[in-house]
Symmetry: D5
Subunit: 156 residues, 10 copies
């Protein structure tokens, strides 16, 4: 098994680390990455963080943009094992605040979606997200717009 | 201790149950409730589900709208012990999808907010939320807009 | 608050208990229930166990079939808070075996679905299930067929 | 202890990683793998993912197909320590949907199996599974058929 | 909903409590119970503790032996939701020792069963157990004999 | 700290891995190992899996039988940190079945031991175990006999 | 099932609550209780808190001392389901300190017992405990002496 | 960053491993270690296992006694991150028995300390422990004496 | 057991509920309560919330102030089972922020205390706390001052 | 991918380890570090422990002070993934005491903040902390002052 581990392509988490290091080292912004991948900054960041599957051209563009080893392209085209939290309840305060929104507003979201659409869910797969700055004299705000297809439960 | 438990005002969770029963029984919609409480449907639902503190007039309006016992008004004006999930990872599929969004997009949200605003968080307290139907020929979509004040970490 | 708890409609879990008791007491089978609700035995059982939302006629039929109090009909038409397990890892051996199938075959299902359909998931909402006896000389078998819509992840 | 770790055969998880890398690198499909192992695509994938024990010829075929070190054959013939989930509640959305099916339909499956077969379980050992595409004008579906021997509890 | 809860049959856990109280009150031994149910003391105890399904005559015999309400008979004939532990790791020292045996000897049992039988498991369904006193001059011992059918994994 | 890690003796888990590799590589059976260690196959397997402390001659015999580095002998004579499960609820199906036996029969074992012996426990330390094949025309069975000293609680 | 719950003897936890209330109400000390039960204050407290099994005379003495209902005597003579913590990690600061001692000194205790006695454990069953005040000019101390029989692991 | 990891001093857990290996290799007993560190065997073992902070002379003595690299001395003088358990509920049977004592006797210790001293705790910091052999014709016993300062809660 | 539960004094959690209801109903402030109990508002609130032990006069004052049943006085003088969180990680956002401070600053507090005082801890028993408003033109602030006795670890 | 891992910048946790080693090795105090970073000792320690983001000059100063590799500067300027606890309930006694304060005083803090400020929270982001020695003849005390902006919940 000589050279065993050398023959192995880099793992996705190694590639994510290399991408983040190259991004910091080269002073790239997510909008730059989005442009190179011809997609939104939200999807681009998610894909570079190992949560989305790149198309072949996107993966090749990422290899070039971040100076990744050539084998990384194939890895980036494989559907990832998703989930970016290291614990059921995230410890990072920024991420925790979103968990808190789910905790405090979970039943509210359930009530309002059922009232408007009937029994079913908002898809987290047929889903897109947009994050922007909302200027405010009392201090700028983060505005996040989520759009997910409503999927109804049906009787069968 | 005669009459002890009878002297006790209803607990918040009992009031929430009574509100939900009255809402179903009287065919009220959250927009009706919002109108009675002179607020948004999102805040109104959260307050009726025990996650927000009502002002005196709102609490009185809720007592009248839902036919609650008079003592309920004082209870609804006390800041609640928040958190509507029964488990760290929610089991209801509708609520789980939001947990999944946090799980899949948590690090993405962190990256994008830090890039746009620097180190800090989106407040879940100075926060508002709006949920609406987004018509789509391929199936209508749930659109949720969240707006939270950016709070920077500062050196001291 | 006189009569308070008497005014409360029965909770869904109380109704589920009453349904199960009436079903045992009257010797009803799930196929009988399915016929009364004009649906499949799988959906009928899930609905009676508090996991699906009944249409008005179904709820009324259930009230009659199981001799439930009249107020139960409205409750059965409200989307439930889903999840029938009492622990993350279920203790009942019959239910555990299905958890074990997910544990042992989880990554296999992921591989095969991605290979056949690309990146995405099998919906658990636009989903139906069928359970039947598969006669076998070496001992009859349980055959379960699940059908869920494939939902692709998309770039945005 | 010179050369200690070099003398160690590769661990099963290292072999699984090598198999997955070779599969991606060589553009192999699970049906190709199944043919080489003279078995179904479901069992072949599960075995390559470290969840099933290969027979000697299958293990040798796998070594050849994926270009594994010769020592891997013996490892693939040892019964594995099964379980492919990294957490009690899986975070990957595709795998989670199956967990959700167990959560929502767990008590339904229990009811229907007991009604049809009496007290007992569906075996997850004397078990086979088949996954196929179900064409549907409203969007193709994933159809999964599970077949497990019914095992009755007996009085003793 | 007048009389609602009065119409409900007793729950299995209430029946278990009644059985245990009657057993203590009447000075019955498990061998007496086994005789009345025409089965072993091991199965009889498990059934009375809510872990096994009684046949009709057994349930009627239990009702008579323990002076249970007549409705209890039907409940005892329904397959129970099994699992007698209140936590994943049991706190009672007697029960914990068995958990410790699984913890310390788990991999040993796996090795020895695979060596003797090949890949598969010992069934916990087609299973019987016997507990007896093993006289020993250094202090009597508890001897437990478990017998479970070997179920092989098979390629498909 | 030159050569630091080279000076370290192998850890117990490294030795366990080497033993298992050598056992597979040399086609040894646990009965062979038991003979070499002059003990039972159950104790021999548990000791080789890192759960029991070997006597000096046994450790030397293990070093020879499995071709371990000389330093391994001292390590095998140190009482191990016991526990072979990687989670509170084991995921491997073979080991889980024993956990299930504890879960389903835990209170039964408590009742029967207390009835026969009074208040106390079955020792898991002054304990021995035997596993053998029980031929059965309906399929051979695994028979496990456990014998543990009864230890009474005493008033003081 | 008329009078059902009235026929039930009090549960052990109800009896524990009654004992504690009577003890506070009557200003009894544990040494008084120990005298009445003819045992140590440590064992007496543990028994009254539901962790030990009383002999018949002790149970009768407890019924008289605390003014318990007559049925309580039989309940106190049944071996309890032991474990007084409500969580794996106890929240009460006094009890937590003992958990902390196990956490900080756990491996130390293991080392010292193995060095002095060889491989084995200190029994928590054949065990007695004594708690007393240790006068100290710098502030009095709690002195706890535990004595448990050493139980050796043996080869078989 | 050439030589990066070589420049790092050894971590405390690496030093603990080296100490344990040297102790086994050189046949040292904890009483020998205690003598070299001029302290008790209990404190010496805890310090060597990474749970206590050594004074400079003790750290130097440990470096000499166990043949540690010179840099280890500074590390041993830094207050450690304490806690020697790898899980909330320890799996090793010897350590578990102490957890069981806390579980079974936790409320008893609380009662007796409050009765003797009033509201407060036994310190686990201003604490010492002694372990010795208690000869007993029925089998020698482990005797552990713990002494912790009583700390009262005070009104303020 | 006639009148059994009526004879029971109110539990501490029932008294806490009654206190909170009376406080809301009578418009009392914590400073009023502190005055009545002749203590600080911080200690008074903690005691009324079931986390501190009242002296006899304080308990009597509380009974009068809140109109509690007379038996409540004795209960309030018993040391409570402390811990006000319902989960290891608190869900209420206000309380969670303090958990977050421990999470983010835990190792910082450890470093600074060890640097200033040497190895040891800040007592949470010999502890007092003060909360006040800190006026600030950019928005008033919550200022919390904690003072706990330093307790050193000592060699023995 | 030759040299792959060498090209990677050091991870934050590696830098934290290097900082701590250099701090011990060079006998630096946190007040020295604070001076070099031109900030408080509390913020400086938190930043060096990987919980705060350094400004460019601070990161450069840290590189020089601790002799870090040049690439470390960029890493120290990236917002960290915060959270310094390795478990939900911290095991180190010093850190645990702060968790205990949250556990015992959590509801008290909630009451007092709501009474003084209304419904809202104390920010853990717009937050500063100060730790100092409080001389006391009965033993010096640790005094910690926390100051966090009050953030009100608002109706919308």
């Amino acid at each position: 098994m000589s050279g065993g581990s050398n023959d192995m392509p880099p793992s996705r988490s190694e590639i994510v680390q290399q991408i983040m290091a190259a991004k910091v080292g080269n002073g790239l912004r997510w909008t730059d990455v989005a442009e190179a991948l011809e997609t939104s900054k939200e999807w681009a960041a998610a894909a570079c963080l190992g949560q989305m599957t790149m198309a072949a051209e996107q993966a090749d563009a990422a290899v070039e943009l971040f100076g990744l080893p050539a084998e990384a392209s194939a890895v980036l085209q494989v559907p990832p094992s998703r989930g970016s939290l290291d614990q059921a309840v995230p410890s990072d305060p920024l991420i925790y605040r979103f968990y808190e929104v789910v905790s405090v507003y979970g039943t509210t979201l359930k009530e309002l979606i059922h009232e408007e659409f009937g029994d079913g869910i908002m898809s987290a797969i047929d889903f897109r997200m947009n994050l922007e700055r909302e200027p405010d004299p009392a201090g700028d705000r983060v505005r996040i717009t989520m759009s997910g297809k409503f999927l109804p439960y049906r009787t069968y």
